[in-house]
Amino acid sequence: MLLLEASYSFEGGFAHTAFGYDPTDAEIRLRYTASQEHREIARAAANEERDSLIARGAISVKLDEVVTVDTRARVPEVATARSLDDQLRAYWDSQPTGPDDAQRGRLLDKLHTLQATQ
């Protein structure tokens, strides 16, 4: 049993490191990674690759799909902000209708008042 590792990217298509390998009489497991968004198209490409390997003499080709999840935060800056003030500033920066500088100053003053009384 031969394990071929491959990956699919939307820009570069299907790629693995053993394209030049002679698959004659080999039992192959093709393990490929694909992002969650491109699973269908990657599966089609993997099927094509399987047919190609079988045409080139492979006995059998098993497909092994590995899904990669690329999650992004809406406001990643809030996670790295140290203080609550900085978190609020980062949040306001991400808002299309965030407060202006004068209102930000007033809001932070009020926040400090609340923190002092907690």
Partner: protein, 947 residues
């Protein structure tokens, strides 16, 4: 939250047990807590976590640890490290009364000095991590409600707690409270401003002042005029009472006649109007109209009944025709269906005949594949039995290794004990060698002491003997004098003798002092020698123990070396067996997969193979079915012609509405009766009123004539009314005073209005400021709220949580499942809602859905991965350091095949979070064996066993 040690006394089944996790070797990372059902495994971990930290008994809602305390002095004592501090918790409970006290120490300082429970709860609330985070991350129990089992809002709350930013919601709540306060303030200011604006009617007040001034001027002028009129009237006032009385009598007589005339006229008017209203002709005309309407309604009803009878006949005929058509149509449908069925069967038979070659090939191929399956099954069974053999071999090697490792540990302990026993071995040997010398030294010192004591006694004897000698010498001298010797000579000789004795006795005190000093010195020397001898004897008595310890040390070294060699050998064997097993397992797995593939091919051929029986009889059947088709075709043609010959009946109109016509006849009849009654009533009224009108006309004529005959009286000259003028003057004076008062009041109102106008301006400015404050508080509350910064923070933790969860799953369970956390969803109305859904991509089954759709076992895997990933997040963000992970049968739903993967996942998570220990409660022996050591709970005790 790291548990260092614990002592449980008088709780649940535990009489008095202690365990010191710090004393266990560091390599005992995974600890299996095992024992029969009901022995107290879960009770143990519940007391360690919920009991010690929050005094809770988590299995019953709102119950505390006194629920399971069963002694008067039950004690729960734990030492834990939380957030880098080492806390000692101590809970005392009276199992009878349920009362108790709780204390917490940190660096020997009491943090709950009074021990009162209320103080402890307050301290725990402020200083310990949130219970929901602990239960959904580092402690996992199916009954606590895992992270996966929570609702979306609960998951978000836990994420916020794990991020350590749960205080934001408190700030948001405080901001919302400020909104209420500011709203109230705005409302009060707005009301006050409205009141001030209403009060600030300066123009109106100025007009009121001007009006009051005008009124005052007019009132003054009227007072002057009234005063002058009163003066004139007083001069002209005279007495004309008689002329006035006559005039009043004449006026009264005319008035009486006039009143009677008007009353008569009124009565006449009323009677004439009633008479005119009683119109007999109109009533009779209405009666005629009602009668003719009644007749025409009756005629219409009779005609309609005739038409309805005719329509009934037509409808019955049409129904009979329709029934005939329907019967023929049903027969036709049946024949058509039979024909179609036969056609389909013929098509099937032809298809089978056409696929004859394929079917024969499929039968042959299927046989071939069945043989391959049998061969693969055999190979798979062989591999499986070989794997089982290797498993038992690995287990045996592992047991050997653990046994030898235990022996090595025991030998190490023996070495430690022997080394400890040999710490002062040199001293012991020296003591044994010098024991005889010390004994001799004691004997010598005692001999010296005896000699010195004898010397001292001799000196004391000499002192007593000196006194006796002097007395004896004096007596002897006296006796010689008594015997007539010469007294002078005797006295001289006696005196010489006495002087000699005195001289000798004068030396004795010094000698005595010296001898006493020697005795004291020798006594001290004896004591010191004896003490030294005792010490030496004690040390020398340890010589046999030292000698046996040396032998023990040598033997223990030998045993340890042998055990370590044996353990290494067992490990090598185990590794070799594992490698072989992995190879065989992979081969077996490949064989199984190949078998599945072949089975799938056989299943694909099954349909063709099943058709092989039909192929044999297809030719004969085709002829039979062709004849059937011809018969059905002729039947269909015959029935179609018969249906064409049967005409479709024309439509029959609906029946006329007989009920409506009968109601119209009844209504017309009632109206005719009512009109006849009206005619009779009008005639009776006219007969009563006509004589009354005639009499009243005559009375009116007589009274008119009488009034014309009475002369109109002429009024006498009126005398001025002095009293009225005086009253008028007083009224005008009063009006003047009132006008002056009104002017003063108007001037006061004007001043108040001017003040209110100023106040309104100030209040409007304050209201504008308060509205800005309100806008700011509203914005801050929204930005700090659950849909604001909190949602952004929860969302920002998503990538880290996703990465950690998938890392655990992919590393330990393969690439089948991939988890995503969805924090937002679009509603069907287009609005965006914050949520926290867990979605699973299952590449093996091709599913992509929410976690709730998974089976119990699959959900357990995802739940554990999510829980451990959450632990990782909490350790990084909220300061859980070196935690003790606890799993209370959380993997019980897993199959035997997946349990090793689960244990591997626990080990990986423990490495990621740098866990101190992982305590795993499990009844599965394979899980217990995969752990590093076992803690067995039985009969109220906990004992350590090698895994």
């Amino acid at each position: 939250m790291r548990i260092a040690s614990a002592r449980i006394k008088g709780f649940g089944p535990f009489k008095d047990v202690s365990i010191d996790f710090d004393a266990l070797p560091k390599e005992f990372k995974l600890i299996a807590l095992c024992g029969e059902n009901g022995e107290g495994k879960s009770t143990f971990v519940d007391l360690l976590v919920d009991g010690a930290n929050w005094r809770d008994w988590p299995r019953r809602e709102r119950k505390k640890i006194d629920f399971v305390a069963n002694e008067r002095d039950s004690l729960l004592e734990t030492v834990e490290e939380i957030g880098g501090k080492r806390y000692e918790f101590k809970h005392l409970v009276d199992g009878v009364s349920g009362k108790g006290e709780s204390t917490v120490f940190c660096d020997d300082e009491s943090l709950v000095p009074s021990g009162k429970l209320a103080e402890f709860y307050a301290w725990a609330r402020d200083n310990l991590p949130a219970k929901s985070v602990v239960h959904s991350s580092i402690v996992s129990h199916p009954a606590y409600g895992s992270f996966v089992a929570m609702k979306a809002t609960e998951r978000k709350d836990v994420i916020l707690l794990a991020l350590g930013v749960d205080g934001i919601e408190k700030l948001a709540a405080a901001a919302r409270k400020e909104i209420d306060n500011t709203l109230l303030e705005c409302s009060q200011k707005r009301d006050a401003a409205t009141v001030a604006v209403n009060a600030a009617n300066v123009d109106e007040s100025t007009g009121a002042v001007n009006l009051a001034e005008t009124r005052l001027t007019i009132a003054a002028r009227r007072v002057a005029e009234a005063q002058s009129a009163l003066d004139v009237a007083k001069q002209l006032a005279g007495d004309s009472a008689l002329a006035r009385r006559r005039y009043e009598e004449q006026v009264a007589a005319r008035t009486d006649i006039g009143d009677r005339k008007y009353r008569t006229f009124d009565d006449l008017f009323v009677c004439e109007r009633s008479l005119n209203a009683a119109d007999v002709t109109a009533a009779e005309v209405a009666l005629g109209v009602a009668n003719s309407a009644h007749d025409s309604a009756k005629a219409a009803l009779v005609n309609a009944e005739i038409v309805a009878s005719s329509l009934r006949t037509k409808r019955e005929a049409a129904n009979r025709q329709n029934e005939d058509r329907l019967r023929v149509q049903l027969e036709l449908d049946k024949a058509t269906a039979a024909k179609a069925d036969v056609e389909k069967r013929i098509a099937n038979i032809r298809a089978i005949l056409a696929n004859g070659d394929k079917i024969r090939e499929a039968v042959a191929k299927s046989k071939e594949l069945t043989e391959i399956v049998a061969r693969l099954e055999l190979e798979s069974t062989k591999a499986s039995s070989e794997v089982k053999r290797l498993d038992s071999e690995i287990a045996a090697h592992d047991a050997d290794r653990m046994r030898h490792a235990g022996a090595a540990t025991e030998a190490t302990r023996r070495i430690d004990r022997s080394t400890e026993a040999l710490e002062n071995s040199e001293l012991v040997r020296v003591a044994a060698a010098t024991l005889d010398d010390e004994r001799e030294a004691v004997t010598l010192c005692k001999a010296h002491l005896e000699s010195a004591e004898r010397e001292l006694d001799a000196l004391r004897g000499r002192r007593i003997a000196g006194a006796d000698e002097r007395i004896g010498a004096l007596r002897h001298g006296l006796e010689r004098v008594m015997s007539n010797e010469r007294p002078r000579v005797v006295a001289a000789e006696t005196l010489d003798e006495d002087n000699r004795v005195v001289e000798e006795s004068e030396e004795l005190p010094d000698l005595l002092g010296s001898a006493a000093g020697d005795v004291a010195l020798f006594r001290k020397g004896v004591r010191n020698a004896e003490e030294r001898l005792r010490s030496v004897e004690v040390l020398a008595s340890q010589l046999p123990r030292v000698e046996s310890a040396e032998i023990e040390l040598t033997e223990a070294h030998k045993a340890r070396n042998a055990a370590l060699c044996a353990a290494d050998e067992a490990e090598h064997k185990e590794a070799a067996a594992e490698a072989e097993r992995a190879k065989l397992a992979a081969a077996g797995l490949d064989a199984s997969r190949l078998e599945r593939d072949v089975m799938a091919q056989i299943a694909a051929l099954a349909e063709l193979v099943a058709s092989s029986d039909k192929l044999a009889i297809a030719a004969g059947l085709l002829e039979e079915r062709t004849e059937q088709l011809s018969a059905h075709g002729s039947t269909v043609e015959r029935l179609t012609e018969e249906l064409t010959d049967l005409p479709e009946p024309p439509p029959v109109p609906a029946d006329p509405d007989l009920a409506t016509l009968r109601a119209a006849v009844n209504s017309a009849s009632a109206k005719a009766l009512s009109s006849a009654q009206t005619v009779a009533s009008v005639k009776a009224i006219r007969e009563q009123l006509e004589p009354q009108v005639t009499r009243l006309r005559e009375d009116l004529k007589a009274l008119t004539e009488q009034l014309e005959a009475t002369p109109i009286p002429v009024p006498p000259e009126a005398s001025p009314d002095v009293a009225a003028l005086e009253t008028e003057l007083a009224t005008h004076q009063s009006n003047h005073t009132q006008a002056a008062k009104d002017l003063g009041a108007a001037q006061v109102a004007l001043e108040a209005a001017q003040r209110a106008e100023f106040e309104a301006v100030v209040l409007r400015e304050a209201l504008a400021l308060a509205e800005v404050e309100l806008a700011d508080w509203t914005r801050l509350a929204a930005d700090l709220g659950r849909k604001g910064l909190q949602a952004a923070l929860v969302d920002s933790a998503g990538p880290e949580l996703t990465r950690a969860t998938n890392d655990l799953l992919h590393s330990c369970f393969g690439t089948r499942w991939t988890v995503t956390y969805e924090t937002q969803r679009i509603k069907d109305n287009g609005d965006t809602a914050e949520g926290y859904d867990i979605r699973i991509i299952d590449t093996e089954r091709g599913r992509d859905g929410v976690v709730e759709d998974l089976s119990d076992g699959e959900r357990t895997i995802i739940s554990e991965a999510a829980s451990l990933a959450l632990s990782e997040l909490a350790c990084k963000r909220a300061g859980f350091t070196n935690p003790t992970l606890i799993r209370d049968e959380s993997g019980a739903a897993l199959s035997a095949e997946r349990r090793p993967m689960w244990v591997a996942m626990l080990r990986r998570a423990a490495t990621h979070v740098n866990a101190d220990r992982v305590i795993v409660i499990s009844h599965s022996e394979d899980v217990q064996d995969l752990c590093d050591v076992k803690l067995r709970v039985a009969n109220g005790t906990i004992t350590l066993e090698a895994a």
